[in-house]
């Protein structure tokens, strides 16, 4: 396990460097002079320009600038937003909200997805199975902002079951509707994954042995079938985290959730390039860390991975 962990950690390094390099390269290629953008119509004195260029290392070659940027990231410094706030301050304020939203969404999609997938898989070809597959196909086809608006309009405005926008402080009951919307994108995938995994596991020898030992279905289904079917579902959460981040950006924008996603959403809408890049970098780092954790969890769950 130690060896596997070490190997996996080493693999992250080139990916981390490559990803930050790509992002930085895209920003560097951005047309226009950052200082002109900073001052607008009234350019400062040439001396001031020179001082700022020196302060932000703008006179250095591309690769040197990249290393300054990388050093900043490793020291936990993601720069400042357009309005002059430190990105770290904004993160401290918005991050807890997004974490709450994401955890709630993951909870919804896991509970509902695994339940529907398990029942569909156990009764393959039944009415429940056919309905579940049909519903999941429709859900996959609906872009998240369409689901968001439809939910906001019908459940929030027409029926009044939920608050259509999230209030200050983002209380948990206001987050339920955005979390359901966010959960809906991955729900369908989890249903399918669980279903095919359950069908596969049900046909294995150890399940037949369990039946022939005389164990009841009530014990075989949760202990023998479900537990062994969940490994691919857990790993799916890792790759799916990227979808969740993009989904959070759109959902938080629609429901006005004061989280990281809305900050990114508003920065995009206002065309604030540098802020967009800071937040995308943070999301990519988060995505890498989550995937690393899921991979390690996978190795804990499935010994075959460790020794392969």
């Amino acid at each position: 396990m130690l060896w596997y962990t070490g190997k996996r950690l080493l693999q992250v390094i080139p990916v981390l460097l490559g990803a930050t390099f790509l992002i930085y390269f895209m920003v560097f290629a951005m047309p226009g002079d950052p200082i002109a953008a900073l001052y607008g119509d009234r350019p400062p004195a040439p001396g001031v320009i020179e001082q700022i260029r020196e302060q932000y290392h703008l006179n250095d070659p591309f690769i040197v600038q990249y290393f300054y940027y990388l050093a900043g990231i490793f020291q936990g410094d993601f720069g400042v937003t357009y309005s002059g706030q430190s990105v770290n301050d904004v993160l401290a304020r918005t991050f807890p909200v997004t974490i709450r939203l994401a955890l709630l969404a993951i909870f919804f999609e896991m509970v509902a997805g695994i339940f529907v997938g398990l029942v569909s898989g156990l009764r393959k070809g039944g009415i429940f199975d056919a309905t579940g597959l049909g519903v999941s196909l429709v859900l996959i086809s609906l872009p998240i902002f369409v689901i968001g608006f439809v939910a906001q309009y019908f459940l929030g405005i027409q029926l009044g079951w939920f608050s259509p926008t999230v209030g200050a402080g983002a209380p948990l009951e206001d987050l339920i509707l955005p979390a359901l919307v966010l959960a809906s994108i991955s729900f369908a995938q989890i249903v399918r994954l669980t279903r095919s995994s359950v069908i596969e596991t049900s046909g294995l020898d150890f399940v037949r042995t369990a039946y022939s030992k005389g164990l009841t279905r009530r014990r075989i289904v949760p202990v023998h079938i479900l537990r062994n079917s969940l490994i691919p579902v857990v790993t799916y959460l890792g790759t799916d985290f990227g979808t969740l981040l993009v989904g959070a950006t759109v959902t938080e924008g629609i429901f006005n959730v004061p989280g990281v996603g809305r900050t990114l959403y508003q920065a995009i809408l206002r065309g604030e390039g540098p802020t967009v890049v800071s937040f995308v970098t943070i999301m990519v780092l988060l995505y890498l860390v989550v995937n690393l954790l899921v991979d390690l969890l996978y190795a804990v769950l499935d010994p075959r991975i460790r020794y392969a």
Binding site: A29, Y153, V280
Partner: protein
């Protein structure tokens, strides 16, 4: 000994049933027919597809969408971006304008008709790009292995580590002044290919030790030719499936970027743009938002459904789970 028993004194024996002589010629029960066309994966898949209503439904939907995109003039008389009168703002349906008007007073139906071409072009360009890059990277990494695999797979990992819509957001922010169908397709496609490459690579790893590869090597076919003529065609089936689904993903990505405001400029018809603009009047005029959403979802639905039936037809494991 049975022969010594006097048959005249013993009880009459029960009659034995003797099956009538039946000479089924061996050929008739032979499962392998020597004559006739040899079957392969694609012929089997087509036979399976032909029987499935879902295939015909999605094929019909896709054909209709392609037809609308190619000949918008047959479905609406309004040219794009014209005849918008503010007096009609958010107006109800009238004669000749079956779906009502947008906030700018444009005809909703004609905007939907003209938006089809944009969505489809983005979908097709992205898919071509993803397919090309994915097949190149996946084929070389899987077939040559060793340091080639190490290098190409790490490059793939790097591109995979940035969720492609986030990457496209950054690219489109950078290229704010150059937004058009080609640029947005490049922005989506450049980061979307690693999944295709991974799928092809793992399939090639499975295929490349087959006997026909050894045979081709033995008769002196070059490595490069073996890869393109034998290994890649035999590993392409799962790539076809995810490419169909990727087309739907690209259409969603374009709409999402346009929705976020970093997609296409407003003078290009795009369902994502229309949905984003209708957002502000959701409470008063929901129809302006609902109709383009239906068009978008239906298009995505038909491509995803097509991908699913093709997967079922090509993958014996998926067929068994039906």
């Amino acid at each position: 000994m049975p022969d010594s028993i006097d048959t005249t004194t013993s009880k009459p024996r029960p009659e034995h049933f003797v099956a009538p002589l039946e000479e089924t010629p061996l050929e008739a029960i032979d499962t392998i027919k020597a004559e006739g066309k040899p079957s392969n994966l694609w012929i089997d898949a087509w036979a399976d597809l032909r029987r499935r209503p879902m295939f015909w439904i999605s094929a019909a939907l896709i054909l209709i969408i392609v037809f609308v995109a190619l000949f918008p003039g047959l479905f609406t008389n309004e040219p794009p971006n014209s005849n918008c009168q503010l007096a009609n703002s958010n107006g109800a349906p009238t004669e000749g304008h079956p779906l009502g008007f947008t906030r700018q007073g444009c005809d909703v139906w004609s905007r939907i008709v003209h938006g089809a071409a944009t969505s489809l072009s983005v979908g097709i360009i992205v898919t071509t790009l993803v397919f090309t890059l994915g097949v190149l990277f996946g084929a070389f990494a899987g077939f040559y292995g060793g340091w080639v695999d190490g290098l190409l797979s790490r490059i793939g990992d790097i591109f995979f580590s940035i969720p492609y819509i986030l990457a496209a957001v950054v690219i489109m922010s950078v290229l704010a002044n150059y937004r058009n169908v080609w640029v947005i397709s490049l922005a989506i496609g450049v980061f979307a290919w690693p999944v295709t490459a991974r799928v092809l690579r793992s399939e090639i790893l499975r295929v490349k030790n087959s006997d026909y590869v050894t045979a081709a090597t033995a008769i002196g076919v070059s490595r490069f030719k073996i890869m393109w003529a034998h290994v890649v065609p035999n590993s392409i089936a799962p790539v076809i499936v995810i490419t169909t689904i990727a087309l739907a993903g690209a259409i969603v990505a374009e709409a999402t970027l346009s929705f976020l405001g970093v997609g296409l400029p407003t003078n290009i018809m795009s369902w994502g743009n229309d949905i984003a603009q209708a957002q502000t009047t959701l409470r008063t005029a929901p129809q302006v938002l609902i109709y383009p959403s239906i068009a978008l979802s239906l298009t995505v639905f038909s491509f995803i459904m097509m991908g699913e039936v093709i997967r079922d037809a090509l993958d014996p494991k998926a067929r068994a789970q039906r």
